[in-house]
Structures are given as C-alpha cells and as structure tokens.
Amino acid sequence: MRNRDPLPRYGSRPGFNALVPIMLVALMTGAPALAVFSYSGGYSEVQRLATIRCLGCLGLDPQIPGFTSFWTEYPQGHIKKGEEVPHPRFVTQVLDSEEVDLLILFYWAQGCVPCSEQWDEMVEEGIASGPEDGGREGTKYAGLRLYSIDANEDPNGLYPTYIPTGRENGVPMTTFIFRMDDDIIRWYSHYGKMEVDDVSGMMDRIMYGHISHG
C-alpha cells in the first residue's frame, strides 16, 4: 500500500532549480563583495552609525529632569560630576568672537525622526536655517551661532563632551553654550527632542533674561 503524506506539497516548485546557476554566480560574487565592500567603507560606516544609539529603534525618548540652572562643570548625575568641562577649542573660538552671544549645537543622526521634526520646527521658527545636514542659525536672533552636527561624524569631538550624563548616547541633543561677563563658560544639554517653544524660551532666558548661575 502506498503511504501518502497528509500535507500537500509545499515549496520545491518545478523550475525553481533554475536558481542554481544564478546562485553559482552569487557564490563567485558574494565573497569578493563581502571582502571588498566591508574593507572599503561598509564596515566602518555600520560601526559609525551603530555607535550612536537609535532611539527611533527603541520607540523611546529619554526623560530629562526639568531645567534648573546652567552648568559650569559636569552636573549632578554625570559620571564626571563636578569635574571641569574640557570645552573643545572649536567652542572657545566661537565664543571668543564678539558677534556671538550664544552657541547652539544641534546633534542629529541619519534616519532619526525626532531629530528632523525638531530641526524643521526650529527652521519654521526662524531659529535655524538650511537643511538638517550642515544647517546653520536662522535670522530671528542676532548674536546666535548654531551648528547642526551629524552625531556620527562630529569632527570636533563635541558630542561626547556635552552628553548630560556622560553615559547614554542618542539623538537629538541640543546644547546651549555661552559666556557671561565673568568669562566663565556656561552650558546646558537637552537629550531627546526639545519643543521649539522650550528652545525659544531658553534662548530668551540666555540672551535677554535672567540667568540662574549654576
């Protein structure tokens, strides 16, 4: 008696073996492709992009304690709490310029939805201008210098200096840096998307209002 399988045939469709020669070609090309393209930039690009944590992948935004004061050193909760901040030369040079009252560093990453949302809102408000990649300050505030920086590239090493906790790394992050009459550099970093009203409020506070000395 012939035994029949209870399940109908699935998969192995006639003609599917035509894939064999195609796959043989794939065998010849796959290994060289892996070697050549990982060496010529693929590997380093994956590493570069993966180093900054994708908060979009998590579906989570960091919860930031409300703003209390500007910092002069590393704040409470930072792994280097109380230590002096090694402000990069790029920052001090910008702040030395007489035309600059406030420096904003906006960090973003490719494919980050909250980053592009915050950037678009800042452009609409006149705080920023241009595309997210390489964007600069808008025309609304005189004395403002703004740099939009891809956190994965960051040639001046600004991003790790200004992470508010020194631990997590994610984007967007907005850093406000300025100098007062006492010449001490004060700063504050907001990790996660910042509403444009909060950005404006912070700028008004720094440029025109009362400042709490941290």
Binding site: L7, Y10, M23, G30, S38, V46, L58, G111, D133
Partner: protein, 412 residues
C-alpha cells in the same frame, strides 16, 4: 554506526548550545565590547542593551538613506550586506534562522513550553517561573542602582525581566486558547483596565525608580493583558470553528508570502518616507531592545510617537508565535525571506534517504515550519533546525556537507 537515539541527543544539544552561544555573542556589549561594524546574520536590534553589531534590515535602510542623500557609503553598506548574506547563505542556507537567531530561540522556548504546559500544575509552574523572572528583572537593576553595582553586571537583568514578561504572555495565551473560556478572556481585559488604574495610583503616590511607576512599562503589561483577552474573545466567538492555517493550505501558503512582501517593501518605504520606516515600527526591536530597556531604566524613558504602535505589533507577534510554531519565521521575517532561496544551493544540506524511510511521518510532525521535510530538502522554508533528523527513528535524514541539488546539477 551511530544509533538514532545518540543522533537525537546530539542534534538537539547542538541546536540549544548554538542558540545560547549566539545570544551571548549578540549581546557581547554587556561584557564591555564596543560597538563593531559587523552585521548580525539574524534579526537583532542594535539599540538592545549590550548589542555590538548592526541589524541587517537597519543596515539596508541606512544604505538606502545614504544613497538618497548622495553619499558614496550607501552602496558600500548595501553590497557589504548582500555579500555577507550570499556567503552565509551559500555556506549554510537558512541555518541561522534555526540555530542562531534569538527571536527563533524565543519561539522555540514558546513551542517547548506550550507542549509541556499540559496540566494545571505545569501551568502553575509556568506562571510562577514567569513571575519570578519578572521580579528578578524588576528588582535587579533597582537594587544594583541603589548599591552602585557595575552597570555591565546588571544589564542582563533587562533580558531576564523581558523573558519573564514574554512567558507571562504565553501563560495568558495558553489559558485563553485552551477551550472556550469567556471568563478567562474577560478577566484579562479587567486586569488590563486595573493595570492602567495602577499607573495613575503609582504616579500620584510618587513611586520612582521601579518599573511599577513607569507608564510605559505598566502600559505594556496592560496592553499584553488586553490582547490576550481579545485573542480569547475571538477564540470564543469562533466556537468550534478553527482558523485554517494547516501547512501548505491556502491561507498558510499565502501568508508565507507576507515576509517576501515586507522584504521587498523595506527599501522603497525607506526611500519614500526618508526615514527608517521598518525599524521605527519593528516588533523585534520592541522585543529585543525596548522591553529589556524598560526593565533596566524604567523611569529614564517616555514613549515617542512609535512606541505604542511597536508594542501592539510586538504583542501581536507574541500572540502569533503562541498560536503557530515559528509564526514569525513562517510569515513575517524579512531576513528569513532573504535567506530562503539560498537553501537551493547552500553547500551544507540535510539529506533524505528514501530507501530507509518507513513513512512514519514523524519528521513532518516535528517540523516547526510546517513543511514536509521529505519532499524537498532545499525548500526555502526549511530553517535547518535539524528536528527532522532528531525525529527520524531510522536515521533516514542526515546532515551532509554537499547540497543534493547542486550535486545533481554538477553531475549533468
């Protein structure tokens, strides 16, 4: 000659050992290994606690975004990914799905427990074990934080807690799916409402630093209870009718094409929406990254616009996996769809000896992908988990280094 019994032990041990090892490799970051530029050969989110490589779909999306922005690195990333897939696929076919993927491991745990939890006592044990894991996962990071333990040591607690919550979900799905228990379903819905209420109580009482005061964490449990309840109600409404997902039958056959559709859709959707379209709502990202992270740092996060969508998809995937063995691999995994065709030519293969076969059909019953292992060993759906080898009482199936189709083609 090795007896079938010995072979059975060896194959299942090989699989479990490999699955454990690959999970440890996937989270090498918990040992302080920095992020590398490697790509996981399976689905695993690079935002997971301790992740040390990129996810293939995430790399594909970034490659497309770089191409659309005119960067030269985009094609490099995509060809690097394709090269890796071709080499792995040609060497071992879809074996990484069956032997390495952490999501596959979770599905195997689900299938195993589903089979084992046949009595009330065992169901009770399952509930106890999941609650114990939940307590360890919840209290571990909190205690470590308060006592100043090294973060790397307690990073594992995120996964312990996450596995506890997945097992608790399985326990719920088993309860509502076995028989038509309307009261069980309604109880889960009531529990869902109560959990939401607890969030407000926790918020008002000012409990901080534990998942109990995290809206997202409690919301997740509430969502799980709600979906379990709804699955139970659907089961009740269907009465004695069953959803026909018999392997090879119409619905099953068409549903298997969904994963191919998802794979095809990744690149265009990324290009059109100019964002990581799949990753933003990816349920595996939620299972491997978001849920463990909620255990580790419950009060450090708030939901963004994709959180609840991801969670709904994640719990729905858990429901699917609880109902259908390897449901994610069968119907939805775009990486499985990418590997599938390489089974046709992969150098390693599972050989079937028709002369030895006694037609006991045990290999068919054992196959978690619901295919007929005797029909075609190069079936794109075969995940090379080697269960058919284990199941065969006469050792008619065995692992061979050279693909039979390739051998036949070469000898023409």
């Amino acid at each position: 000659m090795m007896s079938p019994e010995k072979s059975k032990l060896r194959m299942s041990h090989v699989r479990i050992t490999l699955q454990g090892l690959f999970f440890i490799v996937a989270v090498l970051g918990v040992f302080g290994i920095a992020m590398t530029g490697f790509i996981y050969p399976f689905f695993f989110c690079p935002a997971s606690p301790g992740a040390c490589a990129g996810c293939p779909i995430w790399v594909l999306e970034h490659g497309v975004l770089e191409i659309s922005s005119g960067s030269v690195n985009g094609p490099y990333m995509i060809f690097y990914l394709i090269g890796m897939f071709l080499v792995i696929g040609i060497l071992v076919g879809r074996s990484f799905c069956g032997l390495a993927c952490p999501m596959g491991t979770l599905q195997d745990i689900y299938s195993f427990l589903k089979r084992k939890a046949a009595s009330r006592y065992r169901m009770g044990m399952l509930a106890f074990a999941s609650l114990l894991l939940l307590v360890i996962g919840t209290a571990g990071p909190y205690i470590a934080d308060k006592t100043g333990l090294e973060p790397l040591l307690y990073m594992w607690m995120g996964y312990v807690g996450a596995i506890g919550s997945f097992l608790l979900a399985l326990w719920g799905f088993i309860i509502v799916m076995r028989g038509r228990r309307i009261w069980a379903s309604l109880s889960f819905i009531a529990a869902s409402i109560m959990l939401r209420a607890m969030v407000y109580v926790a918020e008002r009482s000012g409990i901080e630093g534990t998942p109990l005061s995290s809206l997202e964490f409690m919301g997740l449990l509430s969502l799980m209870a709600l979906i379990i309840g709804l699955v139970g109600l659907v089961r009740f409404a269907l009465k004695d009718r069953r959803i026909q997902l018999r392997s090879g039958a119409g619905a099953d056959r068409w549903l298997r094409l969904v994963k191919v559709g998802l794979l095809i859709a990744v690149a265009p959707s990324t290009y059109i929406f100019d964002t990581l379209a799949f990753t933003d709502i990816d349920p595996i990202g939620a299972i491997t990254a978001t849920i463990p992270e909620l255990f580790l740092n419950p009060n450090a996060w708030s939901a963004n616009q994709f959180f609840w969508l991801k969670m709904v998809f994640a719990v729905t995937v858990l429901a699917l996996v609880a109902v259908v063995d390897r449901g994610w691999c069968r119907y939805l995994c775009p990486i499985g769809a990418m590997y599938g065709p390489t089974n046709k030519i992969s150098i390693s293969d599972i050989h079937f000896d028709a002369q030895k076969c006694i037609h006991c059909q045990r290999c068919i019953s054992a196959c978690p992908m619901g295919i007929n292992p005797k029909e075609d060993k190069t079936d794109p759906e075969c995940i090379r988990c080697m269960r058919c080898i284990d199941a065969c009482p006469v050792a008619a199936q065995r692992l061979v280094p050279v693909n039979a189709t390739l051998g036949r083609w070469a000898s023409r």
